[in-house]
Subunit: 249 residues, 2 copies
DNA sequence: CGGAATCTTGATCAACTTCAAGCGTCGTGG
DNA sequence: CCACGACGCTTGAAGTTGATCAAGATTCCG
């Protein structure tokens, strides 16, 4: 992983002092030339929580790479029902390679720092660097797997199974000191839009888990998993994180 | 598009005589060398309707490219609930690039003819040919868009909206002489697994559409769309086929 | 013709939504 | 510093959708 220096002039908001200086920059290749060009062309942008990074159906000219913070990728029906398609985390790409127009909405749900680069620039880098193309292909394939796992969750799981599955995903993903202490990156409204439920159902099922002693809530967003085995049972069968060996490098 | 000749010795089953001779072979590049090697390494295989092409969680060594026929990509929970993730049609890849193990099941729902090539061979072709890699990336991005559109359908649409949306997708995709005559590639059980419903609900909602005069059924699998505007209204807002301009060639 | 698979229809039921009201917390402005 | 409103969360009651269970009808094929 290579790093880019974030200049002090760009005044990151709500980012801790010691996090400001160096930012991991993904998709960099071993090729010096490509790397220099990516460094040169990419600028750092900051977005506040709640800010819109992308609106679907719009012409877009810049690709963003999340460096810090979380955003949602979402879409909705004309009557307002919305579905969150994915949480975007550091190293995720925002924008649609190969298309003039975006297809989904992107909204920051925490303060977000992102690398910004012109889409044409990024695409011409891909044309130059087969290695970078392979890396992007690779991460796209992983996103596709994730989306497909989510299809099973949305199409076939019950409310409690959806919630249990999601908590387990969070737990797996978090590299906390206390691995069973999970911080919800979303409020219950957003959680509902992610799991295809209503916020009332989310609240009730969380209470349900709490009453059964499976979780304990420390504040509205801090959840401690007390009984992970029960949670696994209630998730209706987890799709194991497949150990994808990275043959494609 | 380049073509490969299907040798008579391989005796395709249930494929019409005039379809047997030449098969479109996708992902071919303008590079002569790559093309020759792909031609050389790929063999033709036939699968009968109902046959399993891939089981999830298994080690896999061969990539298949569907040349004719339809298969389903699916996954299921331990208790048997299953979700069909996508219909696989000609030019779709079967297998997971970059991973030793498969993640989903693939089942033929009609007789299928597929090109078969060793995964390592295919991956080393990708390493050689940046153009081919870009094409695969491109089609993966499109699959990702499709999967995400399906997330909205499964998470937020009602039964009738799901069915209407699917019929419209079929209609859009079919290049029939009579564009409003749609052939269902699936039985109602499979349709249920695709739309996240039960087969009884499918049957009832089809009857519903029939009673309202929106569709007319000619046999169990032939559906004529009588009132496409109503169908669009009932679909709860279609995601427009975005006109992705192929900037990435 | 017989049997399996598929489709249809009805009755009942459960899960989840909808609607409604109330509570706690936080931030802002008087 | 307190009051107020916005927002997020909780809980209850009622309503709907779609699932489940069950029984037939139809089609398909050997």
């Amino acid at each position: 992983m290579t790093y880019i220096q974030s200049s002090a002039a760009e005044s990151p908001r709500a980012l801790r002092r010691d996090e400001q200086r160096f930012v991991p920059l993904p998709f960099l290749t071993s090729c010096e030339h490509t790397q220099r060009r990516l460094n040169k062309e990419m600028s750092i942008r900051h977005f506040e929580a709640g800010e819109t990074l992308q609106v679907r159906g719009c012409c877009h000219h810049r690709i963003h790479i999340i460096l810090q913070g979380t955003a949602t990728l979402s879409t909705s029906l004309p009557d307002g029902r919305t579905q969150i398609l994915r949480l975007l985390m550091p190293s995720d790409l925002i924008g649609r390679l190969g298309s003039e127009t975006t297809r989904y909405d992107v909204t920051a749900i925490s303060d977000v720092m992102a690398g910004s680069i012109s889409r044409h620039e990024f695409e011409s880098l891909l044309r130059i660097s087969p290695e970078m193309t392979r890396r992007v292909l690779h991460s796209t394939l992983r996103e596709l797997d994730e989306a497909r796992d989510w299809l099973l969750l949305l199409g076939r799981k019950t409310a409690i199974e959806k919630l249990a599955s999601f908590l387990l995903t969070l737990q797996r993903r978090s590299q906390n000191l206390r691995p069973n202490l999970v911080r919800l990156p979303l409020c219950q409204f957003e959680l509902a839009d992610l799991l295809g439920l209503t916020h009332e159902t989310i609240s009730r099922q969380l209470a349900n888990l709490r009453d059964q002693g499976v979780i304990e809530c420390h504040g509205p967003r801090q959840i401690e998993i007390l009984d992970i085995d029960s949670l696994v049972d209630m998730s209706g069968g987890e799709i194991d994180e497949c150990d994808i060996s990275y043959v494609m490098q």
